[in-house]
Symmetry: D2
Subunit: 252 residues, 4 copies
C-alpha cells in the first residue's frame, strides 16, 4: 500500500559457486545475484535490493544492514554451522519485530529456520535431476498472484520428500509432485511475532531454478507479502497495573 | 498491486432505519450509506463503491451488479429469510469464483454466511450498551494495518458471546472482551474457493459503530485484503486424460 | 475413553454393485458390507456397526437410526442428487450436534459434504489404474496410529488431483502422489459444530481398496477419532440477560 | 487405546513454595505434588505419575527419567534461566520424538517453550486477584471432555493479556475473560515433530488453582491427548537413492 520501496537483502552462503565449476557455470556471480536480479526485474522501483554473504564481516549482516532490511531472503547449504549464533539471534529478533523472511531450498536446515520452527526441519532427498510439478492448493493467495495454471513445472530438480519436520504451516500454498515417487509441502507460510515467513522449496546450486519465470514470480510475490505491516504494536510483555473495569476483590 | 479501483457493493437490509426512529437518527441514510462513506473516505480513488438493498429488484444484486463487484459487504438482521435462495446461490458462486465477502455483525445469521460456513452460526447475545475491547491477536495481518495499540475500544455495543458456531477460522485476528463477562472471536478470515471472507463483529443498528475511526480502518483494510487475486485458475473439476508420466498398468 | 461401543452406520449408494458385474465381483455384498466388515474386524467390541443404503425407506436413515448413530460413513458416486434434502438436513443437524462423519472417495460431491464445506468440492480425476502413494504429513495424529512407514501404497487407483475445492482443512494428514503426475490432499479433518469430519480419498467401485489393510486401519482409527466427545454444551444461540460483571451504562 | 499406563513426569521449579510462606500455605508439598495428586485421582490406573524439581541432580530429568516419560508437565516461574541448556536440548529432542508436553501458566517463559515456539512468548500481566472465565471455543476437543458448560470460572487469578507472542496455535480451545478488561488465548495446542504440546494458562503460586475441579479435569484430559501415538515413523531426514518410478533424465 505504501509508495516506499521494500528494502530486500538477499543472503547467500556463496561457497558452492566459488569451489565447484558447474555451480559457477549456472550462477557465475552467485545465487544471490540471480535472485536479486529476478526481484529487481519483477518489482522495479517497488524494491531496493542488496546482497550479503557468509564470508563478509558479520556475514554481511551488521546491525545497520538489518535495521535497513524489510525482507531478508536466505540461501544456505553446506555451511549452516558457520553462521554465528550472534547473527542468528539478531535475525530472529528482527523477524519477531516485523522483518519478512524467505527461506529457500536447503535453507530448511539453516540455524535461523530451525530456530523459528522449534523442530529439526529434516526431510528426505534425492539428487537425480527429476521433474517437479508444483501444484497450487491455495489459489487465492497473493503469493501465487498471476500464475497461469493449476501448477507449474521444473524440468530437473533435486527431490525433497516428507516427512518434513516443520511446525504445521499457517497456510499451505504449494505441494510438489516428484517423478520418482514423492510429494512435498513446497510453499508454506508462518507468522512469528510481527514477522512473516515463507518457506519455498525450489532452488539448487546446479539447476537454473532462480532463472525460471514462475519461480521468480513466486519470489517477487512473496517479497511483497512478507513486507512489514499490520498494527503498530510490537508485542513486548509488560505489567499492566490499572484495569479498565473495577475488580471485585480489590480496594477501590 | 493493481491500479484498477476495487469495485465494492455494500448490501444492507435497510429495514430498521425506515421503521425505528432511533435507528434513523443514527443512520439517516441507512447503514449502507455510512459504510460506503467510510470506505470512500478511507480508500479514495482505490475504490468505487455502490450500495444495494433488500427491497430493490433482485435485492439490488442483478447479474450485472454481481459481475461488476470485486468485494461485497453484507449487513442484515431482521429479514435474512427474505433474501431469495436464487440470490444466495449467485452470491455464493461469485465468492467461490473470487469475489471478496465482508460479513458484518448480525450478518452472522445471513443465508450466505451460513451457506459458506456449513454450520448454524449461532451465538449468545445481550443488549445492554456495554463496553467492548477488541484485542489484536494477529498483529502482522494487513487487516489491522495501521491500528495504533494492542486493542481498540467501542464504548457501547451489543454483546456477542461464544460458543460462536462457525467453521474454525483460517486466521483469528481480533478477540473481543465485553464488560459483562464474555469474549468473542470478532475478526475471522476464511478462504472458500477463490474467494476471501472476513467476518467482523462490530456494528449495530442503534450505536454509531460505523462512524468509529478504528472500525472504518478495519473495514477499509479488509476490502483491500479481500479483493480478488491469486492464480488465474478457478478450480473447476474435470477429467484429465493424458498423464505426465507413463503409468505402469496402462498400454503405452 | 468410554466402555460403551461406538455405534457406526455405514451408508452406501449401493447402485454400482447391482448394475455392473465387475463391481459386483469386487464387492459382492456391496461396498458398505466390505467397510462394515473391516471396521468390525479392526475394532471388535468397541463398535456396533450397521449399514444403510439409498433405496431403503428414508435412505435407511430414519430419525431413530440417526439418533442411534455416533459415526456415519458415507460412500456415494452416481446418485448424489437422489438423496433427499430432508435427509441431508437431518444428517447435517446430527453432525453439528456431535455425530462423526467419514466421507469417502467420490463422496466429495455428496450433498452432505458440499453442505458442510460451503464450496463446490470439485477436483480433477483420471481412471487409469495408476499407483498411489499416501504420504503421512501429520505423524502424531491418532488417525495414522500404528501405520508403519512414511507412506503406504495402493497399486491401482483412480487418480484425484488438485485444486480440490474444499474449505482449508483443520488438519492435513495424508497427501497422495500419483504415478501420472498429480498430488492430492487425501486425508483431511474438519470440525463443524460439535461434530468431527474426516475426508479420506481412497476407495473406488472396481479396485479392492476397502480390503486393503492400511485403508482399513485408517478407517478404524478415524471412527475412534470422530466419535462424539468434548464438552457437554451444544452451541445453541440464546440471549443472555444477566451479566457477570456490572455494566457501566446500565441501571444497577 | 492402549492398556499400558501413561507415564507422567510433573516438573516444578519448587522455589516459591520453600521461600514464601503464603505459597507454602497453598502448596505445602509443592505445586508438583498438587498437580500429581490431581492426575492420579482423575486418571487412576491409566497413569503412573512421578515428579522432578529444579534443584535435583540434572533437574530430576536424567536420560533414564526422560526415556521413561510419556508426558511431561512443566511449571516454572522465577528461575527459567537456571535450567541447563543441556536439559532443554534433551527435553526438546524427546518432544520431537513423541513425548507430550504440558506447559502451565508462567511456564510460557520457560526455555523449553520458547525453544519450541521460536518466539518471545511475552505477554501482559497484572496481579489483582481478579476473576477469570475460560470460554470453550472448540467444544468437540478431547481436552474439554466432560466440562459441563460453555465456560468455567476461577474466582481469583493473576491476569495474562494479549498480545501473547506465540506461534499461531494449531487449535485454540479456551479463551479467558478477565474482570479487569483483558482476554487471553488460554488453551492452545501445537504439534512439533511427533510430539503434542498443550499450553494451559491457569495456575499461580498463591491461588489454589491446581485444586480446582475443572482445572484438574482439563489437565487429565490433556495428559491423555498428549500421550505418544500416531504412525511409527520418527521423521529422521535421509537420502533416498532408489525412486519408485523411472526418472526420465536418468540412465535406466
Amino acid at each position: 500500500m505504501s509508495e516506499t520501496p521494500i528494502r530486500v537483502t538477499v543472503w547467500n552462503e556463496f561457497l558452492h559457486e566459488r569451489s565447484e565449476p558447474r555451480v559457477a557455470h549456472t550462477y557465475p556471480e552467485g545465487i544471490h545475484a540471480a535472485i536479486a536480479e529476478g526481484l529487481q526485474q519483477s518489482l522495479g522501483a517497488a524494491v531496493v535490493v542488496r546482497t550479503a554473504t557468509l564470508e563478509q564481516p558479520e556475514h554481511g549482516l551488521s546491525d545497520d544492514v538489518l535495521a535497513a532490511t524489510d525482507v531478508i531472503v536466505w540461501w544456505g547449504h553446506m555451511a549452516h554451522d558457520r553462521v554465528s549464533d550472534a547473527t542468528v539471534d539478531k535475525v530472529q529478533q528482527r523477524v519477531l519485530a516485523g522483518m519478512g523472511l524467505l527461506v529457500l531450498h536447503s535453507g530448511h536446515l539453516s540455524k535461523i529456520f530451525r530456530r523459528l520452527m522449534g523442530t529439526s526441519c529434516q526431510l528426505l532427498w534425492r539428487e537425480a535431476g527429476e521433474r517437479e510439478r508444483l501444484w497450487i492448493v491455495n489459489p487465492s493467495h497473493p503469493i501465487v498472484e498471476g500464475l497461469s495454471g493449476e501448477y507449474f513445472e521444473l524440468p530437473q530438480t533435486e527431490m525433497y520428500g516428507e516427512y518434513f519436520d516443520i511446525a504445521p504451516p499457517d497456510e499451505l500454498i504449494l505441494i510438489s509432485w516428484f517423478e520418482g515417487g514423492e510429494i512435498f509441502r513446497s510453499g508454506c507460510t508462518f507468522r512469528r511475532g510481527k514477522g512473516k515467513i515463507f518457506y519455498f522449496r525450489p532452488g539448487h546450486e546446479t539447476y537454473p531454478i532462480y532463472q525460471d519465470a514462475n519461480v521468480r514470480r513466486v519470489l517477487a510475490n512473496a517479497v511483497r507479502w512478507a513486507a512489514p505491516g499490520g498494527s503498530r504494536y510490537f508485542g513486548e510483555g509488560r505489567q499492566i497495573v490499572e484495569p479498565l473495569s473495577p475488580i471485585s476483590g480489590r480496594p477501590a
